[in-house]
């Protein structure tokens, strides 16, 4: 009993309360998204909001269980957890159920579980465990290759399930590498590669190259104009030219048509409002029509009359935007950013390297979901079907995010036990 009180005493209430607030706000908006005047009972277990409530209660139970587990457990069994996730990802390819094009679900009783959601936790644990080892030197190529392997293995398995969206999330753990000491140049390269790809698709390639050429020249002229610098700049420029053109070629050659359309829609090259652009257009209409104050709870016409598809899952932020307006959207974004800040703050105060890096992993994964999901509803990012943490309808994702977060809260409270 005394030990238990100790556990709850030392958990970080900031994070716990932010978690609770987000989950409750999410539930309210799911209620609004699927609200139907004829079936308005909040406790209707057939409706999504009814189910979500069960999942919220279950996730609270999960959180409690995690807080009661010994602090060393997660670091000790990190690789095991990762291994189980990989096995589940393999198993689901063979025996999974197909839901909306992705063969990534296990049917357990009445509940559909998606191993990919849980694999993110496994990857975060494995990365933290590996880099937490004091002998590992991130400067070495071998280390980097191992880390790449830890990420690529689940990514490939997830892509095989046609769930490219979830695969992207694993990339977020690069922030953990960076915090663990990966070189600035490599980080810059890892950031520059996708950034350049986006620019190559988003703007005129020739203008992009002229801009790069001019900035390269200006940079060279501002240095001491050594031959070596010039050669480096030329090499980078040539590599960029090749890359920019191969991205364009790759998109046209290798992406599936629907993915290509999504990219074209995003960059305004395609304004097919009845096809791929429909979701984003309706999403923008929903959020844009919310105004400053919003239309009020259950008053969103886009929401109520189902103009936005997937509104309780991937497009849940539309409901926030439409019914709560700018003020509500601002609040939700502020809550998320505050949560990320708090997690980083807690991570930095960890004594164990494992805990610290795991904290960074948690923040990175949540952040990437946040950035892609809201970016998508605002028409800033292509339509990639990944949930908004704690908000989107769905047991698997809610439980996975809860476990992800509460393992970190447990690690943070474990700090005191190490005294």
């Amino acid at each position: 009993m005394r030990e238990q009180r100790g556990i709850f005493q030392h958990i970080d209430w900031w994070v716990a309360i932010l978690f609770l607030v987000l989950v409750i706000l999410g539930w309210i908006n799911i209620y609004a998204a699927v609200y139907d005047e004829n079936h308005s009972s909040i406790l209707d277990m057939d409706a999504r909001y009814g189910k979500q409530m069960i999942w919220i209660l279950a996730s609270l139970l999960l959180a409690m269980v995690i807080l009661l587990i010994d602090g060393k457990f997660f670091s000790q069994f990190a690789y095991l957890f990762y291994g189980i996730c990989i096995l589940l990802l393999i198993a689901v390819i063979f025996s999974g159920r197909e839901i909306s094009g992705s063969k990534s679900w296990f049917q357990v009783g009445g509940i559909a579980l998606q191993p990919a959601e849980f694999a993110k936790i496994g990857a975060a644990l494995a990365v933290a465990k590996y880099l937490g080892n004091l002998d590992v030197d991130i400067g070495k190529t071998r280390t980097l290759l191992t880390l790449a392997g830890i990420l690529l293995l689940p990514m490939i398995l997830v892509i095989l399930q046609h769930d490219a969206g979830s695969a992207i999330v694993f990339v977020s753990l690069i922030f953990v590498f960076y915090r663990a000491g990966m070189s600035d140049k490599l980080m810059l390269l890892l950031v520059a590669i996708p950034l350049l790809a986006v620019l190559a698709l988003g703007m005129n390639k020739y203008i992009l190259l002229v801009v790069m050429f001019v900035s390269g020249t200006v940079y060279f002229l501002s240095t001491r104009r050594k031959i070596k610098t010039l050669l480096t700049i030329i090499a980078i420029f040539i590599a960029s030219v090749v890359y920019v053109f191969s991205v364009d070629y790759g998109v046209n050659k290798f992406l599936e048509p629907h993915q290509r359309t999504r990219i074209n829609v995003l960059f305004g090259k395609d304004i097919d409002l009845k096809g791929a652009g429909y979701n984003v257009n309706q999403s923008l209409i929903a959020i844009g029509s919310g105004g400053f104050w919003g239309k009020g709870f259950l008053q969103g016409t886009q929401t109520k009359y189902n103009f936005v598809p997937e509104q309780s899952t991937d497009f849940i932020f539309c409901t926030v935007g439409e019914e709560w307006g700018f003020q509500g959207s601002f609040l939700v974004i502020a809550l998320f950013v505050t949560l990320f800040f708090r997690i980083i703050f807690l991570a930095e105060r960890q004594r164990s390297k494992f805990s610290r890096l795991y904290g960074y992993g948690v923040a990175s994964i949540l952040f990437l979901h946040f950035a892609i999901n809201i970016g998508m509803t605002l028409g800033l990012v292509p339509v990639i079907g990944i949930p908004l943490p704690f908000f989107s309808y769905g047991g698997s994702s809610l439980w996975a995010f809860t476990i992800l977060l509460f393992i970190f809260i447990r690690q943070d409270s474990y700090r005191y036990e190490l005294l």
Partner: protein, 612 residues
């Protein structure tokens, strides 16, 4: 190392803040700056449904319903809601081919898969009955009431007019109308459009993404109710109108009858005519095309208001009045008639056989051309006028004060001015001031450049009946349930001619019927006044003209009759006018032989169009 790490922490936190800010800026632009999203959201869910009010009814002067509305229905389709259906059955129900069905579905889908568009317009009430029973079999289809205009009798087409779908260029000019609305296009339907149409209502419904109705928008806060159109009470006598049309069958021409004391038009016949029900509903376009393409009969042409004729001898009445007013003509003024009036250049205006000399009253009775050439000259060349022009202008002013040469202002669109030539016209023709009364002498007997419409001619009869004044002829006497009098037409218009000059003219007109040029038109029981006329027609046989009013004292009806290409006024126009007078005053016509002769007189070859 420590420093590097804290830098990296700041870089990562900075990225979080950056993305958060990007989102907030984006939200700010789309939620607060841009307003197109609010509009789009409303367009998504709000459906504006027009409530068409019942158009005002039109009655005749005895309360007979002339124009009313009949329930009809538009079949609408929302393509997205259409499920597999028995196409053949639906096609049979509304009487279309399968190819039409496919074509129309394609058109509707192109308009919008989610919004209702017109599939089949104006389904009659009988067909609607069958359709109503079966409509549940055709999801995505629904029926919407859209009343049809109906005309109780196949008469008065030109006067009543017709309605049709409002054209796109008119929608731009007048914001009241939307595509799909009806508007009066001619006749009373046009001139009283704003009263007849009533006020449209609007219902705003909320629909979901599948266009399913989700109830009214904000409990109907922004809905407006429709108000029925105002009923109109016309001055037409439906029986008289029908009788006139019967008499005019097979003839080209016009009859206009006016109640002198009120200016109310009792009937207005333009022949050939058409059944107003032809220009209703689905067949309107096709029938309109047929009618408008008939260049032989020109059935759409309203002769009563738009045809101009030289008035012939009927115009002698005008000269008799102007001459007296100008003090150059007196009841005992006598002019001898040597069988015509010599123009001095070897030509002459011939006259028919009658005793001579005649005084004023007799000159009307026997319609002496010589007499009126001299009267005309005595007016124009009166000593107090320094020039011909001055004399002519005085004559013209008097003539125009009797309602000639300008629109009377009848409440039906399309009325023409007629033509009383100006001195400028003769200046252009003969050279400035190089014309004399002799050059324009034919005006004195109603020939030449003078152009009068049948309604102006009827108005002349009314003016004489009233001894010098008239009320603007009109077909709508009262407006609305409370039958407010049509105030536009309550004002008495007084001519230049003093009332006492009329007595001798009236007496002469009475003689015309009793023992003059129109003795064949005499009605034993009704003493009435008339004047024959024969309009010279350079293109063919002369037009037969007659003006009359009855009874002589306290007149109830003033009438003009024009029968084109039929010869002398006494042959056709006078008997027809006399029958009309008998019909109006006695309600029954006893002179069956005369009636049959008139009805059976076919003066034109029937065209295929009216031959139904």
């Amino acid at each position: 190392m420590k420093l590097v790490n804290s830098n990296r922490k700041i870089i990562i936190l900075g990225l979080f803040v950056l993305i958060g800010l990007v989102f907030i800026i984006r939200l700010f632009t789309i939620q607060i700056i841009a307003d197109r999203y609010v509009l789009s959201a409303n367009n998504n869910v709000l459906r504006y449904i027009t409530q068409w009010p019942a158009r005002g009814l039109i009655y005749d002067r005895f309360g007979k319903l002339l124009v009313y509305n009949e329930a009809a229905y538009d079949l609408m389709v929302t393509p997205r809601q259409v499920k597999t259906l028995d196409t053949t059955e639906l096609c049979q129900l509304i009487g279309i081919e399968k190819e039409d069905f496919i074509e129309r579905m394609k058109k509707a889908r192109n308009y919008s898969p989610y919004r209702a568009s017109l599939f089949e317009a104006q389904i009659s009430r009988e067909n609607y009955g069958y359709l109503e029973e079966k409509i549940y079999k055709f999801p995505g289809f629904f029926v919407q009431p859209h009343p049809l205009r109906k005309y109780s009798f196949p008469i008065a087409a030109h006067t009543l007019g017709y309605i049709g779908e409002v054209g796109p260029e008119f929608i731009l000019k007048n914001t009241y109308y939307r595509s799909g609305d009806y508007i009066g296009i001619s006749g009373i339907e046009k001139s009283y459009e704003e009263l007849l149409r009533g006020k449209k209502g609007l219902k705003i419904r909320v629909v979901d993404v599948f266009n399913r109705d989700k109830g009214s928008f904000q409990n109907g806060k922004y809905d407006t109710t429709s108000f029925s159109g105002t009923d109109l009470y016309s001055s037409l006598d439906a029986d008289l109108q029908a009788y006139g049309e019967l008499l005019m069958s097979g003839k080209k021409g016009s009859i206009v009858a006016i109640e002198p004391s009120t200016g109310e038009i009792l009937c207005m016949i333009s022949s050939p005519s058409y059944d107003p029900n032809l220009l209703v509903g689905r067949a309107r376009k096709m029938n309109y095309l047929k009618l408008s393409e008939d260049s032989v009969l020109v059935p759409l042409f309203n002769r009563a208001l738009m045809a101009m004729y030289p008035p012939g001898s009927t115009f002698k009445l005008v000269d008799a009045l102007v001459g007296q007013q100008e003090g150059v003509l007196f009841p005992d003024t006598r002019y001898g008639c040597p069988g015509g009036f010599s123009l001095g250049n070897g030509k002459m205006v011939s006259c028919h056989n009658h005793w001579s000399p005649l005084d004023l009253r007799q000159s009307i009775q026997f319609s002496c051309n010589t007499y009126y050439c001299r009267v005309f000259r005595s007016i124009i060349d009166k000593k107090s006028f320094s020039t011909t022009r001055e004399g002519f202008e005085v004559w013209r002013k008097h003539v125009m004060s009797m309602g000639f040469g300008k629109k009377l202002g009848v409440d039906i669109p399309g009325e023409l001015n007629g033509n009383i030539p100006s001195s400028n016209y003769y200046d252009r023709y003969h050279g400035k001031n190089r014309w004399t009364s002799m050059a324009i002498i034919s005006l004195g007997i109603g020939q030449g450049e003078i152009g009068i419409t049948p309604v102006q001619l009827a108005n002349l009869a009314a003016l004489i009946a009233n001894r010098g004044s008239y009320l603007t002829p009109h077909v709508i006497r009262a407006i609305g349930q409370k039958k407010h009098l049509n105030e536009n037409y309550q004002q008495n218009k007084v001519s230049d001619i003093d009332p006492h000059y009329f007595d001798i003219v009236v007496a002469g007109m009475h003689d015309v019927v009793e023992a003059g040029t129109a003795a064949s038109a005499k009605i034993d029981s009704i003493p009435f006044c008339g004047k024959t006329g024969t309009a010279q027609n350079p293109h063919g046989k002369n037009h037969s003209i007659f003006v009359a009013f009855a009874p002589m004292n306290n007149p109830k009806i003033a009438i003009s009759v024009v029968v084109e290409n039929s010869g002398y006024g006494a042959t056709w126009a006078a008997p027809i006018a006399s029958l009309m007078i008998e019909k109006y005053i006695k309600r029954v016509v006893k002179r069956k032989d005369l009636e049959q002769n008139m009805i059976n007189g076919i003066l034109l070859t029937k065209s295929k169009v009216v031959d139904q």
